[in-house]
C-alpha cells in the first residue's frame, strides 16, 4: 500500500553535488538575507508548524526581516513573505500562521492548510517544538500525507535540554522518512544544516520517503483507497488524492467546495484552460 504514498514524484537521481556541496562548515556564511525581495525566486519554501514553535523566529533569521515574534499562540494570523539566497539559488519563504492540525475547520488555520494543500510549495519546513514532540508530530504526520517534500526543524532544543530531554534526531528522521534538523532558532544554531536540508529537498538530491499513516480500521482504509482511485480517474495528475478522499469522507466543507468549484480540476491540470479563463493569473 505504501505505493499510494503522495510522496514527490521520483526525483532526479541524486546529481553530483556542486563543488560547494562539501564545504558544510561554511553554509550559514552563504546565506543572503534578501528581506522582502522575492523577485525571481527559484523555489518556494513554506514554514508550517504548531503555534508558538518558533516559525517566525526561523523566518526572521533567514530573511533578515522582523516578523513579530511573541510567546503566545495566535501571534501570527496572516502569512508573511520574504526572500533569502543560499548558494546560487533564491528562495521565497512564507511564514504561515500556526496550526495544530490540517484536519480542523478552524478559520485561523485555513490559511496554512490551504497553502500547504493547494499552494504546493517546493519545500515545507515544519518547525516543531522539541519539548512537545508528540503533539507536534501529529501535525508532521498529517503534513506528510500531503507532501513528502518536507524538512522537520526540531526547534527549541535548548529548552528540551533544560527539561532534561535527550533527542535522537537520526531515529526520528528514519521514522519520518524526511530530514530532521535539530536547532535553536533564537540563537541561530542549526541554521546552516537547515539551509543544507532545504536545498537538498528543493533540488531533489535527497530522496525523501515520507511515512504514511494507516487511517483507522480496514473499512476506513478501504473506503479511502476506493475514493482516491476515483479521484485519480476523474482528475488525472491530481496530487494528495488519499488525503482529499479522506476529507471528502469526513464531509469537510472546504474540500467539498474545492471539488465543486473546479479547484481540483485546476490542480490536476486536466482542464487547465476551462478554469483559467475564470480566474486571472495562473
Amino acid at each position: 500500500m505504501a505505493e499510494d504514498l503522495p510522496t514527490p514524484s521520483a526525483s532526479p537521481p541524486p546529481a553530483a553535488n556542486t563543488a560547494c556541496g562539501t564545504c558544510v562548515f561554511n553554509n550559514a556564511a552563504q546565506l543572503r538575507a534578501l528581506g522582502v525581495d522575492v523577485s525571481g525566486h527559484d523555489h518556494v519554501v513554506a514554514l508550517a508548524g504548531n503555534p508558538n514553535t518558533g516559525k517566525s523566529t526561523v523566518f526572521n533569521a533567514l530573511t533578515g526581516l522582523r516578523q513579530h515574534v511573541g510567546n503566545w499562540p495566535g501571534k501570527t494570523v496572516t502569512g508573511a513573505e520574504g526572500g533569502f539566497g543560499y548558494r546560487q539559488r533564491h528562495y521565497k519563504l512564507i511564514d504561515l500562521p500556526g496550526t495544530y492540525s490540517l484536519l480542523s475547520d478552524s478559520q485561523d488555520e485555513d490559511v496554512a492548510r490551504d497553502f500547504l494543500l493547494f499552494g504546493q510549495p517546493d519545500v515545507t519546513v515544519v518547525v516543531v517544538d522539541a519539548t512537545r514532540l508528540q503533539r507536534n508530530l501529529n501535525l508532521v504526520l498529517q503534513i506528510l500525507q500531503v507532501t513528502g517534500r518536507v524538512v522537520v526543524a526540531l526547534n527549541l532544543v535548548d529548552e528540551a535540554h533544560r527539561h532534561g530531554l535527550a533527542l535522537d534526531q537520526r531515529h526520528l528522521a528514519r521514522e519520518l522518512g524526511v530530514p530532521v534538523v535539530p536547532m535553536t532558532a533564537r540563537n541561530r544554531q542549526g541554521l546552516d544544516t537547515l539551509l543544507e536540508a532545504i536545498e537538498q529537498v528543493a533540488l531533489g538530491t535527497v530522496a525523501t520517503r515520507a511515512r504514511r499513516v494507516r487511517h483507522g480500521d480496514d473499512r476506513t482504509e478501504h473506503a479511502v483507497s476506493e475514493l482516491a482511485a476515483r479521484l485519480r480517474r476523474d482528475h488525472p495528475g491530481l496530487a494528495n488524492t488519499r488525503w482529499i478522499a479522506l476529507r471528502l469522507l469526513e464531509g469537510d466543507p472546504g474540500i467539498e467546495r474545492a471539488v465543486t468549484d473546479g479547484t481540483l480540476d485546476r490542480l490536476s491540470g486536466a482542464t487547465p484552460h476551462a478554469v483559467s479563463s475564470e480566474t486571472t493569473g495562473t
Partner: protein
C-alpha cells in the same frame, strides 16, 4: 489500585486521571483531539484560574486551559493510590 469513573471537571488537584471518552461534538471535539485529548491520555490539573474557571490541564506535555463546561464533557477514570 482502584479507579473511579467521572468527568474531568470533578478531578481534584492532587489526582491523575486517564481520558476514557470525549463527549463533546462539533468542531471543538476535533480541536481537543488535535491537542491530544484522546481516550487513553493521562491528564492532571496544572492550575486553576484565580476566578475559579477555567482550569489548566497538563496534557501530553502541554498546558491546555479549558472551561468547566467543556471539562464536563470529558470522561475520565481517576487513578487512586
Amino acid at each position: 489500585m482502584a479507579s473511579t469513573a467521572t468527568t474531568l471537571d470533578r478531578l481534584r488537584r492532587d489526582q491523575t486521571a486517564t481520558v476514557t471518552s470525549v463527549n463533546i461534538h462539533g468542531p471543538q471535539r476535533r480541536r481537543l483531539m488535535d491537542l491530544g485529548m484522546l481516550p487513553g491520555t493521562r491528564i492532571h490539573i496544572d492550575r486553576v484560574s484565580p476566578l475559579g474557571d477555567p482550569t489548566a490541564y497538563l496534557v501530553r506535555g502541554s498546558v491546555i486551559a479549558l472551561r468547566r463546561e467543556q471539562a464536563r464533557g470529558i470522561h475520565i477514570t481517576v487513578e487512586q493510590e
